[in-house]
C-alpha cells in the first residue's frame, strides 16, 4: 500500500465508468416528467390550473422545451451548482438535497456500525458450529429476516416509545445543533434499519466463516497446535471478508435507497422521506436531484467495495 498510484487510477477509472450510468439514469429522470399524461406543468399544478399559470411554470422550468434540450439545460445547471428551487418550499434544490442526504447518511452509517456486531457473533458461532450459541443466533436471525421492516418499525416504536417511554416516537433534532437530542431521535430509526442488515450480515459471515474453517490451511494451522481463537482472527476472518464486504455494500445501498419506510414512520427528514413527499407533490426538480444523487452514491459504494477487495485479497489487483 506504499504505492497509492494504482488506487488513484482505479478510483478515477471507476468514476469515469460511472458516468454513462449517471447520464442514463438522470436522462431517465428528466424523461419521466414527459411520460406523465398532459404536460409536466399540468401535472404539477393539477386539474384546476389556468392556462396562464401553466405557461408561467413552463417558461420558468422549461417544461415546454424538447426533452434533449431540457436535459442539457439541467446538466448545465448541475455543473453550475444551481438546480433551481423546489416547487413548494421554494428553497434551493441542492441545498435541500444535501441537508436531507446528511440525515439519511447519518442513520445509514450508524445502522451499518450497529450491524457490524454480527461479525464477532458470527466468529463465535462459526468456531462452535452446531453449538448452543450457533443454534440460538440462527433462529434469531431467521426471525429477524422474516419480519418485514414496517412491522419491526411499529413493534419497536411501541415497545421503546410507548410502553417503556425511553425514546421519542417521532421527530428530529439536528446533529450539529443538539447532538444529544439527535442521538435520542436517531436511536429508533437506526435500530429498525439495522436489524435486517445485522441478521443478514450475520448469516453470510457465519456461513462464510464455517466454509473458511474447512480450508486446508485451517487444518494445517490446527495441526500446528495454534489455538482456535487465533486461527479465527488470523486465518478465517480475512478470507471471509470479501463476501462480508459485498453484503455490506449492498446493505448500505439498501439502507440509503430503502430508508423511506423508516424515515416516513419516524418523521425523519432524510432523502427517503423527502423523495416520497416530493413524488406525491409532483416536485419534479427535487425528485430529479435526489435520483441523481442516489446514482452517484451507488457508483461510489460499489467502487469502494471493489477497492476493498483489492485491499483484503493480495491476489486481486485494483487496476
Amino acid at each position: 500500500m506504499t504505492n497509492l498510484m494504482p488506487y488513484a487510477r482505479a478510483i478515477s477509472g471507476r468514476l469515469l465508468a460511472g458516468i454513462p450510468v449517471f447520464v442514463l439514469v438522470t436522462f431517465g429522470a428528466t424523461a419521466l416528467s414527459s411520460l406523465a399524461p398532459g404536460s409536466a406543468a399540468q401535472l404539477i399544478l393539477g386539474d384546476n390550473a389556468t392556462p396562464e399559470q401553466i405557461a408561467q411554470l413552463n417558461s420558468a422550468y422549461g417544461y415546454d422545451l424538447p426533452l434533449w434540450e431540457r436535459y442539457l439545460k439541467w446538466l448545465a445547471n448541475l455543473l453550475r451548482g444551481d438546480l433551481g428551487e423546489t416547487l413548494f418550499s421554494q428553497q434551493p434544490v441542492l441545498q435541500v438535497v444535501f441537508d436531507r442526504a446528511a440525515v439519511t447518511f447519518e442513520i445509514a452509517f450508524l445502522a451499518m456500525l450497529v450491524s457490524l456486531i454480527s461479525i464477532p457473533l458470527a466468529m463465535f458461532a462459526a468456531s462452535h458450529p452446531g453449538g448452543m450459541v450457533d443454534r440460538i443466533l440462527r433462529s434469531v436471525s431467521s426471525i429477524l429476516l422474516a419480519v418485514p421492516t414496517f412491522v419491526i418499525v411499529v413493534l419497536l416504536s411501541y415497545i421503546f416509545a410507548i410502553v417503556l417511554r425511553w425514546l421519542p416516537a417521532t421527530g428530529w433534532a439536528n446533529l450539529s445543533q443538539n447532538p444529544l437530542a439527535n442521538l435520542r431521535y436517531v436511536a429508533l430509526p437506526v435500530l429498525c434499519l439495522s436489524l435486517h442488515q445485522t441478521a443478514y450480515l450475520y448469516r453470510v459471515a457465519r456461513n462464510e466463516m464455517v466454509a473458511s474453517l474447512q480450508e486446508d490451511f485451517v487444518q494445517v494451522a490446527r495441526a500446528r497446535g495454534l489455538p482456535l481463537g487465533y486461527i479465527m482472527f488470523r486465518h478465517v476472518l480475512r478470507p471471509s471478508m470479501p463476501q462480508i464486504l459485498t453484503v455490506m455494500g449492498l446493505s448500505l445501498t439498501y439502507m440509503l435507497a430503502g430508508s423511506f419506510v423508516v424515515e416516513s414512520y419516524f418523521a425523519v427528514p432524510g432523502i427517503g422521506w423527502t423523495v416520497l413527499t416530493a413524488v406525491k407533490s409532483h416536485d419534479i426538480p427535487l425528485v430529479q436531484a435526489i435520483l441523481s444523487l442516489t446514482v452517484v452514491i451507488f457508483v461510489v459504494i460499489f467502487m469502494l467495495v471493489d477497492i476493498g477487495y483489492a485491499i483484503i485479497d493480495p491476489r486481486v489487483s485494483v487496476s
Partner: protein, 348 residues
C-alpha cells in the same frame, strides 16, 4: 517435560478409529500398532481409502469430531490421552511438524508466507516477533528459498507449487520438531519437483537428526528413503518391517501384488502391467476376515472368515497379517527407486 532418550518418538498401540453410523459404526482404522524410533524414518503406504490420512489426523488430534479414536498414542514418551485438548495441541504442535498433500491450499492466500512460517514459533517457543521472523527467514533459506528475507512478506500466489511445499516444510520445522510427518507431501507436485522435495526432506531429517514419516500411495517414494515401512490395507496394518526386507521379501499377498503392479524398467515395451483386480473394501461393507481376501488370488475359506493375526517373520522386526503368506525366500525384487512412478492401485 522430560523426554526418555531411548523411547520411541511416536508410539501407537492398538489404535482404532470409528465413525458412528447405522446399523453399525464404520471401522476406519483397526488395531494399528507401530512405533517410530528416534532419527529413523517410516514409510506408510496404502491405496486411497486405506486410512493413511485418518491415521495421521488422529495422531495429530485433528480428526473430525465424528471420529472416535481409541488406543494409546504417545509422543516423545508422553501419553497423549492424559492431556487436556489445548495442552495436547500445543504439545503436538511443538514436537511434530507436518507437511500436507496440497501445497496450493495448505497456505493461507491472505497471509504473507513468512508469517505463516513464523506463527507457530511465536506461539510455542514464545519468540518475539523479531526473533520469530529471523527464525522463519533462516528456515526459508534452509529449505532452498533464495532471498528468504525478501520472500518473507510475499504472498503464496507468488510461489510455484514446489516452492510452496518448501515453505510448508520450513513451517513444519520452525519449532525444531523431533518428528516430521509428510502426508502425501509430494503427490501434487510434478515428478522432478517431487524428487527435489523428497531429497530435501531426507537431507533435513539427517541434518536435524529428526524422525520422519513419509505417507504415500506411491511405493517408489518410500523405497530407498525410509528405514521401515508400514503397509495399510482396509484400515489395517497388513505388513510392517524394515523397508528393504519388506520390498525384497514381501510376505503378505497384498504387498506382493502391489510390488508386481509397479512397472519395471526392464519390462519390454507395451507389455501388460499386472494389476490387482477389484476394488478396496468400502467402509460400510468390510469383510470379517482378511480385508484383502475378496481380491486375493489364493484366498481360502479361513481368509474370508477370520482376520489373520500378526505373524512375525524370521527377522523379528518384519511382521505380516496373512493366513497364507508367501514363502520366506521369495525371488529377489528390485527396491530400486528408479521404478518410482508405480502408483499403488493405479497401475493400469
Amino acid at each position: 517435560m522430560s523426554s526418555a532418550p531411548n523411547s520411541a518418538i511416536l508410539e501407537c498401540r492398538d489404535m482404532s478409529c470409528l465413525i458412528s453410523a447405522r446399523p453399525e459404526p464404520l471401522r476406519v482404522l483397526e488395531h494399528i500398532d507401530f512405533s517410530v524410533a528416534r532419527r529413523t524414518s517410516l514409510g506408510i503406504v496404502g491405496e486411497s481409502g486405506a486410512g493413511k490420512s485418518m491415521l495421521i489426523k488422529s495422531i495429530m488430534g485433528i480428526a473430525p469430531k465424528s471420529v472416535q479414536v481409541s488406543g494409546a498414542i504417545s509422543i516423545d514418551g508422553q501419553d497423549l490421552s492424559g492431556m487436556k485438548p489445548k495442552e495436547r495441541a500445543a504439545f503436538i504442535g511443538r514436537k511434530v511438524g507436518i507437511v500436507f498433500q496440497n501445497p496450493m491450499t495448505s497456505l493461507n492466500p491472505y497471509v504473507p508466507v513468512g508469517r505463516q512460517v513464523a506463527e507457530a514459533a511465536r506461539r510455542h517457543l514464545g519468540l518475539s516477533r523479531e526473533a520469530a521472523r529471523n527464525r522463519a527467514i533462516e528456515l526459508l533459506s534452509v529449505v532452498g528459498i533464495a532471498d528468504a528475507a525478501e520472500c518473507y512478506g510475499y504472498y503464496p500466489h507468488h510461489f510455484s507449487g514446489g516452492m510452496k511445499q518448501r515453505i510448508m516444510i520450513a513451517a513444519g520445522l520452525v519449532c525444531d520438531p523431533e518428528l516430521l510427518i509428510a502426508d502425501e507431501a509430494t503427490t501434487a507436485l510434478d515428478v522432478t519437483v517431487q524428487k527435489e522435495v523428497l531429497d530435501l526432506l531426507q537431507t533435513i531429517q539427517e541434518e536435524r537428526r529428526m524422525s520422519l514419516i513419509l505417507v504415500s500411495h506411491n511405493l517408489g517414494v518410500v523405497a530407498g528413503r525410509t528405514d521401515e515401512v508400514l503397509v495399510l490395507y482396509g484400515g489395517r496394518v497388513v505388513e510392517y518391517g524394515p523397508t528393504a526386507e519388506v520390498f525384497r521379501n514381501p510376505r503378505h499377498r497384498y504387498t506382493e501384488a502391489l510390488l508386481s503392479a509397479m512397472p519395471q524398467m526392464d519390462q519390454p515395451a507395451h507389455s501388460r502391467l499386472r494389476t490387482i483386480p477389484g476394488q478396496p473394501p468400502s467402509l460400510a461393507a468390510k469383510p470379517d476376515g482378511c480385508p484383502f481376501a475378496p481380491r486375493c488370488a489364493v484366498a481360502a475359506d479361513i481368509c474370508r472368515r477370520v482376520m489373520p493375526p500378526m505373524a512375525v517373520a524370521s527377522d523379528s522386526r518384519h511382521r505380516f497379517a496373512c493366513h497364507l503368506p508367501l514363502e520366506a525366500q521369495a525371488p529377489m525384487r528390485s527396491p530400486d527407486p528408479i521404478v518410482a512412478q508405480g502408483g499403488v492401485g493405479h497401475a493400469s
